[in-house]
Amino acid sequence: MRAEAVEERSGWLLAVPYAGFLLAFAAYPILFALVLVVLQWDLVTAPTFAGLDNVILLSHDARFWQAVANTFVFLAIHVPLQVVTALALALALNRPLAFRGFWRASFFLPVVISGAVVAILWNSLYATDVGLINQLLARVGVAPVPWLTDPRTAMPAIAIMVTWKNVGFYVIIYLAGLQYIPRSCQEAIELEGASDWQRFRYLTLPLLLPQTILVVTLSTINGFQLFIEPYVMTGGGPLRRTYSIVLYLYTNAFSYQKMGYAATIGVALALIIGAVVVLQRRVIGTAEAA
């Protein structure tokens, strides 16, 4: 009995700082986010009650909806591209190879580099006149593409860059999944005379479904956080085509000092992320069942 009381007390002492932290820096901000939705507050004067003004404004704020549309354009390019590139590289790495560690490490390299650096670096790679990419294209006779200044190419260019930066991370996820495909299954399907394509289509791909769901979910959640890339590379332009939701949230908080409205955007974004992730899982689940 005494030992238990001592254990209870030590447990409490050790856990209390964390509990306090969760209350102050997680629970309180979450609740306060909901409160901010009905407030108007510039951080200088006292906050005033605004009822549903923020929500109503948000519902027909063309700039917000454009940011939502832009972010979806980004996701529509980024997520499929991420799945295909990560799977392809993982399949290549999953064979008996010389220098396997080196290949893996090189694919993972951009993952450890700050997004700010990658954005600055790709800004110069994408430069119209002196950029590396246009110079390589020129060698095969393609006219220079104004990657970041043409409204049609700016967001795809950013999506390709983000895919390049993160692919190594998703390769590791697929590699982990590939290790669990039993040798016996592979041998059996080979004895049946299946072609490489059939083996991939009917054995590897279905068995990797959990990893594919994970890659889709994580790259979607990650994609919704798009901020530093348009912030550094395009400032949201040209023609606001690369204005992401988080960039719009940041602008409202930092440039316009609209805390209530910025928090409303945050709440809306969290809801959108939740809805999209749930929907994706359903769609992938149904496709699997069919």
């Binding site: 254990e7 209870e8 030590s10 447990g11 050790l14 856990a15 700082p17 964390y18 509990a19 932290f21 969760l22 820096f25 309180y28 901000p29 979450i30 306060f32 986010a33 901010l36 507050w41 951080l43 590289l89 290549a92 190879l97 080196f102 290949w103 490490a105 090189s106 694919f107 993972f108 390299l109 450890v112 580099i113 700050s114 997004g115 700010a116 650096v117 600055i120 670096l121 800004n123 110069s124 430069a127 110079q135 390049w164 991370f169 590791i172 996820i173 994580l218 956080q225 530093i228 550094v232 400032g235 988080v246 949230l249 940041y250 908080a253 930092f254 928090a263 945050g266 974004l269 969290a270």
Partner: protein, 271 residues
């Protein structure tokens, strides 16, 4: 047929590796080139110059930013390791009321996207008067739910007999944690340390919100402000400033790549 396919496989791998490595090599070499050469694809500067680095160093306090980043990331990592393992120890090895609730809260926190709490947290910083202080950069990160969960998972695997014999020797819980558990938990601690340090080292959005004073800016933030504000003036200078952030990471990565990959991939899956 077999050998043709092997050649093709290595060709694809080599092409992919070049795609990932070449831009960084080009960046490093461009910082050593005079402006007239920056546009060239070559990795070897015709004339090597340190001008870009000199200009970058003169125009913005990058030395100070390097120290800020190192200080902030080190403090956060130390706090996450020490405080996180104290919490994880309690949650794994001690029975107390409220433990299941704390467990559930930790899992719930991981489900909440950061953008939801970004603005409320920022207003908390303003109200506390922490704008333009190290506290704003450090305190919101001293605990990390992912780290607590990972360490807890690891601590659960350590045999109870070690805890019991420690107690029989009259050791307190903290001594058991730091003298018995820590040496056994080195791999888990390394994994937590790497993703915590890297997360802090690379973070930009939060510093952009809570710090405006150039002397308090972390490296990625100063880099961003420098490149955007036109302070850099040229690609070479801008890339040179990025090198200050990249070189320490790449050096560490070269030696510890296995741990980096395990740590950063693992944290992402759980977070």
């Amino acid at each position: 047929m077999r050998s043709v396919r092997r050649v093709a496989l290595y060709g694809v791998l080599a092409l992919a590796a070049v795609t990932f490595i070449y831009p960084f090599l080009w960046m490093a070499s461009s910082t050593l080139k005079p402006p007239s050469e920056v546009g060239s694809l070559s990795l070897f500067p015709g004339h090597i110059t340190l001008d870009n680095y000199r200009k970058m160093w003169e125009r913005a306090p990058f030395g100070r930013a390097l120290l800020n980043s190192a200080f902030v990331a080190t403090t956060i990592t130390a706090a996450v390791l020490v405080l996180g393992s104290m919490t994880a120890y309690a949650m794994a090895r001690l029975r107390f009321r409220g433990r299941p609730l704390l467990n559930a809260a930790t899992l719930a926190v991981l489900m909440v996207p950061g953008q939801l709490t970004l603005i409320p947290l920022y207003t908390v910083m303003v109200k506390l008067g922490w704008i333009d202080t190290y506290a704003a950069l450090i305190v919101p990160y001293v605990f990390n739910a992912t780290a607590v969960l990972m360490l807890r998972q690891f601590f659960l695997q350590i045999p109870q007999s070690l805890v019991d014999s420690g107690r029989m020797d009259g050791m307190g819980e903290l001594r058991i944690l730091f003298t018995i558990f820590w040496p056994l938990a080195k791999p888990a601690l390394a994994i937590v340390a790497i993703f915590t340090f890297m997360g802090s080292w690379n973070e930009v959005l939060w510093p952009l919100l809570v710090v405006r004073d150039q002397r308090l800016m972390t490296l990625p933030q100063l880099l961003t402000v420098f490149a955007l504000g036109g302070g850099a003036g040229s690609i070479g200078v801008s890339l040179a400033s990025a090198m200050v952030l990249v070189v320490p990471v790449v050096v560490a990565y070269a030696f510890l790549q296995r741990y980096f990959i395990e740590s950063m991939a693992g944290a992402g899956i759980k977070g």
